[in-house]
């Protein structure tokens, strides 16, 4: 079985509390899981203000600023993609079939600073 572990946190707490993790610690944990052969992919994300939400309704791509916020919609899957820039990422996201009925939030992966 593969499992997806999603990390949720209030952004200001993620880096702002005494017990907030350092990037180096995140990297170290990641390496442990990788060494155990159980890691498929793990990334940190840029803050939510870099997010766009992509929909492909009736054949037209629409992009809204910011994260998806519809509480009725639930997380249904994910793609980790490598794109040249945000617009190329949006093109790929818009073609994800579920974008026709739901939406896809696109967020840049953050480079950890160990």
């Amino acid at each position: 079985m593969k499992y997806l572990c999603l990390v949720y946190c209030e952004e200001e707490k993620l880096h702002g509390l005494p017990e907030s993790p350092e990037d180096a610690e995140c990297e170290a944990y990641c390496e442990t899981v990788e060494a155990s052969g159980q890691l498929v992919a793990a990334e940190a994300l840029e803050p939510v203000n870099t997010a766009v939400t992509v929909r492909m309704h009736q054949g037209t791509t629409s992009v809204t600023d910011g994260p998806f916020a519809e509480t009725k919609e639930q997380l249904a899957g994910f793609y980790l993609i490598d794109a040249r820039d945000l617009n190329q990422a949006i093109q790929l996201a818009a073609r994800i079939p579920a974008a026709r009925v739901g939406c896809v939030e696109v967020r840049p992966v953050r480079q950890l600073q160990p």
Binding site: T50, A51, T60, S62, V63, D65, R84, L86, N87
Partner: protein, 421 residues
């Protein structure tokens, strides 16, 4: 088995991407009739090259190979989509049937012009034209464009998506305009190029005064346009950009503050750019069908040949402004003319013209008009008046270096004038 691409081949493909990707993209958009599909096809074609060329060697005509491979890849993509969306099958079949004739060189060059004219189409909002041109024609990433214009990346991305939707939905044609509408459409292209240049030279906001990368892109774009479409005004615009760019090394002091034209160390001006620019202006003027860019370039060329502000041929500059005002009347040009008149006939004469212009109200929020008035008052020794107008100008300033120059003047005048309040 595919052999992996050697580092040498990878470098070759990378430089091929640099040299040819925009040409290939421009042709693919024409063949496929869709920006997004063409961009994907371009990407797929380069991936295929990295897989096949180590085994088969680099084809004799790599560009033609990339176009044809991209086209087949796009048909594959549509076929895959057609399994779930029948409408795609029809498009795939049509594309497959319309086998493009081996493109004439001329037609392929036209594709690059088609791309430029489409990205600069007047039906698109001005900021979207700039964004689309920088991304599709100059190959900058969304992130680079956003940071050059100090806009959040998601905002810039949205602008690009909307522009492409508009092209698709409004059916903006992918073509070089016909002769009768060429002038008007060319204006829109020249305007986009000049906007990009200006943002690189006179950054509209932020602490840094210039973004040389943007100016360089604009000059490259201007040169490409001249190569593809040798119209006088395209030459005039390129000349104008080169002549202004020539002054860049002398524009800022060590603190990054603005140095005005008359105070610049002219030995720092780039003589090669001045020569190139001047030759282009002369050619454009000689062709007789020039417009506002060529005239502005001619003015810049007069500055370019002068050893100092005093030795500048001001009568000629005023004369060129007179012609410019006839072809494209604008209060900003009148202001520039007024400053040239001040240099030719004295500060009092210039101030009179600037005051008339300001009284007219059209330049109310325009900082250079206040700054020019303050400057003339200062030169006339009317320090109290000058101080007040510099302070008015400061309230209009949104740009760090510009603001610092005004603050310096205010400080100089405040210390020179005994407080009389």
């Amino acid at each position: 088995m595919d052999s992996p691409a050697s580092p040498a081949l990878q470098r070759q493909v990378a430089s091929l991407y640099q040299a040819e990707s925009r040409r290939v993209l421009a042709t693919l958009i024409r063949l496929l009739g869709d920006f997004d599909l063409a961009e994907e096809a371009l990407q797929d074609a380069f991936i295929a090259a990295m897989e096949q060329w180590p085994r088969d060697g680099i084809p004799e005509q790599p560009r033609a190979w990339l176009v044809s491979t991209g086209r087949f890849k796009a048909i594959d993509t549509l076929r895959r989509r057609a399994r779930f969306d029948a409408s795609q099958e029809e498009i795939a079949r049509r594309l497959e049937k319309d086998v493009p004739p081996p493109g004439e060189e001329e037609e392929l060059e036209d594709d690059r012009l088609r791309l430029i004219f489409t990205c600069c189409h007047p039906a698109l909002p001005a900021d979207a034209r700039v964004a689309l041109t920088l991304r599709e024609v100059c190959d900058l990433t969304t992130e680079e464009i956003a940071s050059a214009y100090l806009v959040a990346t998601p905002t810039m991305a949205q602008r690009i998506v909307r522009a492409k939707n508009k092209i698709r939905q409004a059916g903006i044609p992918y073509q070089v305009p016909e002769r009768q509408e060429l002038n008007e459409r060319l204006d829109s292209v020249l305007q986009v190029i000049y906007l990009v240049f200006n943002e690189g030279y006179f950054a509209s906001s932020g602490e840094n005064l210039t973004r040389p990368d943007l100016s360089r892109e604009a000059i490259r774009l201007g040169a490409l346009l001249v190569e593809l479409l040798p119209e006088s005004e395209a030459r005039g615009l390129l000349a104008l950009m080169l002549l202004i760019e020539a002054r860049r090394p002398a524009r800022l002091d060590h603190q990054g503050d603005l140095i005005l034209l008359e105070d610049q160390d002219r030995s720092l001006w780039d003589q090669e750019l001045i020569q190139q620019g001047t030759a282009l202006v002369e050619r454009a003027l000689g062709e007789g069908r020039f417009g506002a860019y060529t005239l502005q370039a001619a003015i810049a060329a007069v500055h370019g040949e002068a050893a100092s502000a005093d030795q500048t041929d001001w009568p000629q500059i005023v004369g060129l402004y007179d012609v410019l005002l006839r072809t494209s009347p604008s209060p900003v040009i009148e202001l520039n003319r007024a400053v040239a008149v001040a240099m030719r006939d004295g500060w009092e004469a210039g101030l009179k013209l600037v005051d008339e212009l300001l009284a007219d109200g059209q330049l109310d929020g325009y900082l250079p008009a206040r700054a020019a008035r303050a400057d003339l008052l200062r030169r006339l020794g009317r320090h109290q008046d000058a101080l007040r107008v510099y302070q008015e100008a400061l309230t209009l300033s949104r740009q760090g270096a510009e603001r610092r120059l005004l603050e310096k003047r205010v400080a100089e005048l405040s210390s020179a004038t005994p407080s009389s309040l």
